[in-house]
Symmetry: C2
């Protein structure tokens, strides 16, 4: 039997494909510090499960395709804090940010027309995955470790745009880079979108994870482009509720939302219980974010200082999300990662990182880069960074 | 802003688009008997919520992309009762049967190649919706009310097959028709699939809803085609847990499942809580199905007798699921449905049905047909059927 080209051409998750090596390390009795996945260790607010425990309907029925009204209202209220003003038919609840992305891509780009989306690389790998699944081509805009993964000059972006380009997809704060775009960068993208008639699919699931007192500008804050902005959002990182799979789409383009509602109707609805729990998440007091941010800020400093302490590393200090991409003085970051799991340890302990090549669409780029997610407590992170330093020193493929 | 052709060409849910008329009827103070939606009134087994209430992990983390092992094991055990034998890497848990269908279509058919799927009509409308969303063409095989919506002769099906045909999608027991295919029909489809190298995407979510002591044959029971069979399943109807959104894919084609796992990884995971609840659902004692089936059987008889009692109705007795499609002596079933909601009542009560035209891909077919879902209690159903009879008699567009 033959499978479709679109599915066979999808790459395997670059993070998940190394899982067997981590399992092998553990089977050898090694302790593995996981810096490779974006699964926060922060506790989910108790209000989530408490509200679900109180659910007592006798029949767990389909809910509304657009999402339950209480959750839509909670999200509208949440956005107001950021000076983003949505009406109830401008929000759709989705199965995680993932489904929001998938639906946005389907709505903007056709397959048989050869439509394209442009995406700054390195990017969240599923931008590529979802685009491939629905036969939309990804054109990368290369960003560089040396520039802290900020956007290149306008001209470089324009070179990626052609008549088949329908949208730009980007995350801000950035996964995997930790970049937070400046107001000027956001405005540049907005101007390009207007000039070339593109949608902006803005993945802002890390909106609260911004450090150093930086001002955060959402694509929802640029008045003149609201007919072309689609905000992808999720409770996963914001409230450490990744397993809830509650995301959302927001757009002031009501016609677009009416079109995407048809996709929502196709999959009938999002689970009822997590929507009820998510309503409570959105009531979490503001000081929750303050304490979570302080925690991540400390971790960020540990990781960044740890990286600075490794000779040959290229890395600007990240300012958002809980990731950093660093260039290492190694021949091949995937080989290095596998080597750390299979052949290396410090007193029975080792580290797993995510090789960054899979975050690029341009062949060959990112081969010497890794992504670190700082989702461990301070002590573990310090230990992991010191193990990583020793690993770079001992690895046979180290280039300095 | 222009939207993609694939999304603008998707039809609105033929069932959900009439909701405003039902709301209007209620605003007039009318009671509306809903025979239009497949939302069972049967209580969800308590074990579902009880197990979820006991969940006490501090962090609601991502779970495995393929689904939690306990649920996969529970489904393997469930299928054994039907003489279907799967291994753990032959089952994937999905966001409802809907996602299972979407992933199966993406895996079998390409967009840019103009790939096609054949589907007996009338069909579950989302077969069309999901295919459109991923740019796959649906070719309908027309089935007729007069024949109880059984499959046409082999030759008629062969006429729909061309080199771009990749799969046949069908539900058994059938939504919207209530048909249960005979062993001979299943074998004919199996033979065709082998001869023309097609996948069979078998939506068997109503597997337990079979009446009159009929023998049920699953596509999972035909040994020689197991490399091409993909079973789509769900707890929604089986355990009256539509709002849980837990479905699954099963196939003995391990390579195919490896491919589809990439799609599962793309959307990360299915909600953890409902998977935990679903494990308990699969432990529901067998007598649950007996009592539920007896209840539906009684309802089926009420609806069928009610239809027989309306002059000019064409309808064979359905033998599965909880639906029936009937041809009415009216000019246009959608107009008739709207008329019942807007301009008709019997002592302040009226009925909402689903016009069947939206279940057909062939233009014009089904215009005088409706789908009835028998998901109300006996008394309400009797009332609803007597109101329907009066409505047909009084409706200005009645053709006899």
């Amino acid at each position: 039997m033959n499978f479709s080209k679109r599915i066979t051409s999808m790459q395997e998750s670059p993070i998940r494909k190394l899982v067997p090596f981590a399992q092998g390390a553990k089977a050898q009795g090694k302790k593995v510090y996981h810096l490779n996945i974006g699964q926060p260790d922060i506790e989910t607010p108790e209000s989530f499960m408490n509200s679900i425990r109180n659910f007592d309907e006798k029949v767990l029925a389909y809910s509304l395709s657009q999402g339950i009204p209480e959750l839509i209202e909670a999200i509208i209220k949440y956005y107001k804090k950021y000076d983003m003003h949505y009406e109830s038919d401008e929000i759709l609840i989705t199965n995680g940010g993932s489904e929001a992305l998938l639906f946005a891509i389907i709505a903007c780009a056709d397959a048989d027309a050869g439509d394209e989306v442009i995406v700054p690389e390195p990017f969240y790998t599923n931008y590529n995955g979802f685009s491939a699944a629905v036969d939309v081509k990804v054109c990368p805009i290369t960003c560089k470790a040396e520039e802290g993964f900020h956007l290149p000059a306008r001209k470089s972006i324009e070179e990626c745009i052609n008549p088949r380009t329908k949208a730009i997809i980007l995350s801000n704060p950035g996964n995997p880079t930790g970049v937070v775009y400046t107001k000027e960068e956001i405005q540049m993208v907005a101007d390009l979108a207007k000039e070339y008639n593109l949608f902006i699919i803005a993945d802002e699931v890390y909106r609260e994870f911004v450090y150093d007192g930086l001002n955060y500008t959402s694509f929802g804050n640029i008045e003149e482009i609201q007919d072309r902005v689609i905000i992808v959002d999720s409770v996963s990182k914001r409230y450490s509720a990744c397993g809830a799979r509650i995301g959302s789409l927001a757009s002031k383009n009501k016609d677009l939302m009416k079109q995407i509602l048809k996709l929502c109707q196709g999959r009938l609805c999002v689970p009822t219980l997590e929507q009820i729990g998510a309503v409570e998440l959105y009531k979490t007091p503001e000081d929750y974010f303050e304490s979570v941010n302080q925690e991540y800020d400390k971790r960020r400093n540990i990781v960044f200082e740890g990286l600075q302490d490794i000779p040959g590393v290229v890395c600007e200090k990240p300012t958002g999300a809980f990731y950093v991409v660093a260039k290492l003085p190694v021949d091949d970051a995937e080989k290095f990662t596998i080597w750390m799991l299979r052949e290396f340890d410090v007193d029975g302990e080792t580290v797993m990182v995510a090789p960054a090549e899979g975050f690029y669409a341009t062949p060959g780029l990112g081969r010497d880069e890794i992504r670190i997610a700082y989702i461990l407590n301070e002590d573990d992170l310090k230990k992991a960074m010191s193990i990583l330093k020793k690993a770079v020193a001992e690895y046979p493929g180290t280039t300095i």
